[in-house]
Symmetry: C2
Subunit: 142 residues, 2 copies
Amino acid sequence: MTDTDRPATGLRPTRQRLAITAALQASVDFQSAQEVHDAVRQNGEKVGLATVYRTLQAMADAGEVDVRHSPAGEATYRRCSTSHHHHLVCRSCGRTVEITGSAVEKWAHAVADEHGFTEVAHTVELVGLCAECSRQQQARTS
Amino acid sequence: MTDTDRPATGLRPTRQRLAITAALQASVDFQSAQEVHDAVRQNGEKVGLATVYRTLQAMADAGEVDVRHSPAGEATYRRCSTSHHHHLVCRSCGRTVEITGSAVEKWAHAVADEHGFTEVAHTVELVGLCAECSRQQQARTS
DNA sequence: GCCGGGATGGGAATCACTCTCAATCTACCG
DNA sequence: CGGTAGATTGAGAGTGATTCCCATCCCGGC
């Protein structure tokens, strides 16, 4: 068992893995495993669902992709290190706003550093009521 | 129908709901629905799993609890507004450090405000390698 | 070209969660 | 105080995502 510690290229570059990587690169947004699977198929490659899950997980482990859980309970993946941003989600209507905040990035790094942690990734999720839903709710509560 | 402070759809304070609320109040940490279910039972109340899920969801909707998705894919719940803190988790050994950061809280509020969102809750998760695991990893890569 | 071990894939298994629907309970009315 | 409407409950089936199993396949080295 050779240890597979090498960052990006540690995994064997099989046709399937390349296809999955390509599918991820093709989108800027978070995609569920199933979506990735579909995308790969539409590119003409045939890859098993199990393989998609496995590969995605391996990549997440290696820090090559970010994982996130959608409210629907699906895990979604996005290639790392590209226009890093967070989401502000309305808990009522699901509306989503993308936000970037260098403030948080800095804070995350500082905190991690303080505790001796390295290679830190972070997930920030803001959930609230968007302006419209707030209004509606107020009207209902009166 | 002059109900003054009851949440929108008028939740009835049934035995089951009170039991669930109590179970939530009893813990400071995030609990999965199943854990809440167990806790309720250990308190001597008999409540159906479906009811737990329904109630938890209703409470989340009403903003009375925070929801969060554990990496394991379970939804976990925590009563709102009590000793709010975040976690710094080691992705290798699972070690966890609790952190508080008023900086993030402020940022979250500011951003939410900026976009007209109200009643904003936030989840922040930092994942990295703790000092020890960093060291081991380095040793292994050589 | 041949070998060894990691990688693959299809389908069954698992797990968290939701739905269905009849029985039950609550609040409130007369 | 009994009656009624409608909210609530719970057991189990259903759903959908993800993982497991294992025989087969392929990559990379020799």
